[in-house]
Symmetry: D2
Subunit: 341 residues, 4 copies
């Protein structure tokens, strides 16, 4: 490991920034040099917690006063593009809270620009770094599930209504990141629909069906309107089916032995065997993620949740929003290759 | 109550017929006169259980030998039209297993013909007669929920693949019947999508979004592919939200006190209060339903799940299937008035 | 299988008798010849269901009219002794509802008398014949659990207050039967305590601790007073621990991989690994039990829940009742050998 | 509120001390002046977190260097007596982790000595300050439960084996504190039994039955040996029964409407009505507790979990241990009056 710590600023100290700052301050290899927030109340909270870091109101301000190698961008989604472009301009490695941007155009510009500078440009898809999702990926990669049949995810609770985006950009982004990470696939098309709360402008519930080049299909149900909190993802293969239930503390993953039998009349029957609940050693996903960010900076490797990968997610979200606006018509999702031409 | 029992035949003694026959034989006011099935094995099973009923291979055969007032049609969906039309021709009251037919055209023909004969023509939407769904309807009717916001239902398990229909016609029909019964509304449009199992012809998972004339919206997720069995319906209003979970024996219904508050910045926040779990006295839905069938025959009243009402459900299913074939494009659902022109 | 069916009478047609009669009527090898009950209402119910069986008011009456090989005794506990002795006198094989008797003295007399006659004399400890308990026994017998450490069972709900016995004799009898069946061990001593409802004469909640000749120990908590229904048994060994939860339909058994590690300071730490939920094929325990009864009659083998084995359970219950009357003092449970001297 | 903060030392920085220190440092009215621990590793951890506090190896050392008003004692149980007596000697208000001491003799001495000095002498029975337990107490105090019938608590999981005490002193102490706080009653007698793990000296599972002057009774089941984590307390009254399940995050308390009916034959039947799940606003029990400690110091009031109250709990534990050593014989628990003679 390099002897020089990565001098890091945390940009935004609202909901997620403090979690970022705590981890940056604790993980060996980082030095939390600066916290940047336009609110004096939030800066004074931050200052008490991290007396050794300097407080600033803008990234430019910070750069005039401290040397920085990396920045953690934890501000509202609509600011990501400008701040990310600044980070690139100043040659800073960056990790940006999801969603990367609020449009494909912005995301493409940023991804291409970052690539020219050889910077680590990573998106904070935290779930991808959780022990449970890592374990799911292992079961897929080793072939234990068999050929994949479908993915179905429900992520609903009484959520904070985001004033400027629909629930799609707030919650479905998680499921798309998990889906891509585990299966390595981007959808070729999407049909989406949703509904608004009486008093709100944007959809507070959204339903996505994703199409792929073969029979595999995916469905995502996200909502800010459910009094019951559900965080449940099913990934089904020909040999086994995984259930990931994030609400059951010590038993997040269940693997069902499920097969299809054909009877003498060519009818299909499902057969259900036993269930395994593997022991998963707990670790904080965000810490794993930031350690990965550090490792990528130090080694020059591409992060698992690179901005490029995240561009595919943004493209899916944008297509889904179009479909939703058109009451469900299938919209083709551009391929990553097409996006990066 | 009339002194003459309703002389009744049960047509079809496969999966559902035996439940029908048991109830018909037990409910005062009915006389189980005949059981009709083409299979000699099934007839001999039936004969042992109901020695006082006569066994036949066809409805016509039965009518030549016993006097009948009513028939219970519990045969595969594709036979409903012909058998229903026969019942009408012979002047029999009928209750037909869901789905009423497999097309709108057939359903319209049957509904109009039955109306000319003043027969009780009822569809077996069993859930509508369950104590839990009745209770849900009460909460809506009394205004306890407030203005309705959304309906979201999940009905998934490892199901028997039906060889001749998609899961839509097998399972979503339940949710549509519940939705219509509770809210009294038919959707104006539907966007549907789904997926097939690798070895099957028809969709084994289907996702419907239903649109209405206002902001109310509904989503239905049905599947034969889930190792986890879920039977869960949420109906949300501005004042309270009901969760109906059919898998929790003594606590099928929960009522959440949920409200929306607007803060000083005009942001919306959900507020969650307590939960009530009302005591619901258990009774068999099918028995309630058949007692209602009897009462309608005796009184001349229109049943809650009349064939006419069910025509609206068939129209929604047919539109959903079209939307599914077109990968989610919204299809307009014809109104009942238009259907009955 | 012998060509002559076992001519069987069911004695008592209250709560449990009808379940017995249904199985006797359905299991090949039995012939349901007679149903005996002092209540004319109950006899008329029985007669409708089983028109081919004869109805009687007493066993003696029945014997004067029909030939019998076996009798199922499903009457209140305090009548078991007299009826069981009659059955022996008349040379009938018998299966008697639990508890075998309400005192050790009676049970001894009956066991000894039956032994002289070479009759199958079996006690209806239904749980022992459930697929889940059979599976638990397999895990013990194969050594998968390792050396046994403890057994802890909770069996509580809002129960019908039995007017003439405490909850000990009604519910703890199940846990004692399971414990003995699975481990093959009888306790050497018992400490018991309990509590009464304000309006009742007998204990409605009881707590038993069972001592054995080594460090293995058992605890049983039974109650008629709990609004929450719990049917949960833990059996812990040095290698694995089984949880049997009878309230979770398709997942009654869980096997936890649990071990004890000693750290560098000789401190003990538990280590928890994964969990397995085996697929258990459903079958009705009572049917399994009555098939076993039939097989024992036909083959002359000793039943798994012989009256002799059940004598050990009666002895434990009697000692527990004594301990309860003495507020928990440990009472020595006589060994089976001593009881059968 | 007094303008001078309460100058406080935290004694012991192992498992529980850090939670204490965090709260002391955050609650207005306290000043975290000193952290005392014999381990240099733990002191250096503490120093980083609380740079403004001074680090010491002993209470005496601390007192020679800083002015103190109060001390939080979070060291192993066997040290409580000596450290508590020191605190009294130096005139410090104290809050001591449970159990107060490991014997009645020590507890009496300490309680009497503290009383002479008019110091706030409080025991850290954290559960008593949890919102759920406070709510339970309200339901009792307002009479909503009706006359109390029984208390049954299960507190089991895979626990750290304490090398010097049995599970009784580690876990049952919580249930006794909750029981006393909610009902205001001390038991008059106790019957206890338990079991050891094969490799351990002390009981790792313990079962207590508590007797009172009337028909009310209580049972407590505690264990370090259960792979299933249960934290469940039932308190039953003639009108309603409360279930407190600490493992269900947003629904810790359920109130069952349960009544007893007597039928025409004088038989007792339970009747189960609906269930309420009240909204309970979350707050950290430890913070509530330490604010109460502060308020008592400032106002001179007696804390809810005074050392005197806790003496009753120690007396129950000591009697229970005696009973356990005698395999369950009931041991009379001395009254508080007798203890304080």
């Amino acid at each position: 490991m390099s002897s020089n710590p990565i001098r890091t600023a945390v940009l935004g100290f609202g909901y997620w920034g403090p979690h970022m700052a705590r981890n940056i301050s604790q993980i060996p290899g980082f030095e939390l040099c600066a916290i940047i927030d336009s609110s004096s109340i939030r800066r004074s909270v931050a200052e008490k917690l991290y007396p050794s870091a300097s407080m600033f109101t803008s990234l430019e301000d910070a750069l005039q006063n401290v040397e920085l190698d990396a920045v953690v961008i934890a501000t509202p989604a609509h600011t990501h593009f400008d701040l990310g472009m600044q980070a690139i301009k100043y040659g800073l490695h960056a990790i940006i809270e999801k969603p990367l941007t609020t449009s494909v155009t912005q995301a493409r510009t940023m991804v291409k620009r970052a690539a020219q500078k050889s910077l680590v440009f990573m998106v904070d898809h935290t779930y991808v770094y959780s022990p449970a999702v890592s374990r799911m990926k292992e079961y897929v990669d080793t072939g234990y599930l068999g050929e994949l049949i479908y993915f179905d995810s429900t992520r609903v609770n009484l959520g904070l209504f985001q004033p400027d985006i629909s629930v799609l950009w707030d919650l479905a982004v998680h499921d798309l990141a998990i889906l891509h990470h585990i299966t390595g696939r981007h959808p070729s098309g999407v049909s989406a629909s949703g509904g608004r709360h009486i008093n709100a402008k944007h959809e507070a519930a959204a339903f996505l069906t994703l199409y792929f080049d073969d029979l595999f299909f995916a469905h995502i149900n996200v909502s800010w309107l459910s009094p019951l909190k559900i965080r449940r993802t099913v990934l089904s293969g020909k040999q086994h089916t995984i259930l990931f239930d994030d609400m059951i503390p010590d038993e997040k993953i269940r693997i069902y032995e499920v097969g299809v039998d054909q009877d003498e009349n060519s009818l299909l029957h499902y057969r259900l065997g036993g269930v395994e609940i593997p022991k998963i050693v707990n670790s904080e996903a965000l810490r794993n993620e930031l350690e990965h960010f550090r490792d990528c900076i130090q080694s020059g490797l591409t992060p698992q949740t690179s901005a490029e990968t995240s561009l595919g997610i943004i493209a899916t979200l944008e297509s889904a929003q179009q479909s939703m606006d058109d009451h469900g018509s299938m919209i083709t999702v551009p391929t990553l290759d097409a996006l990066l031409l």
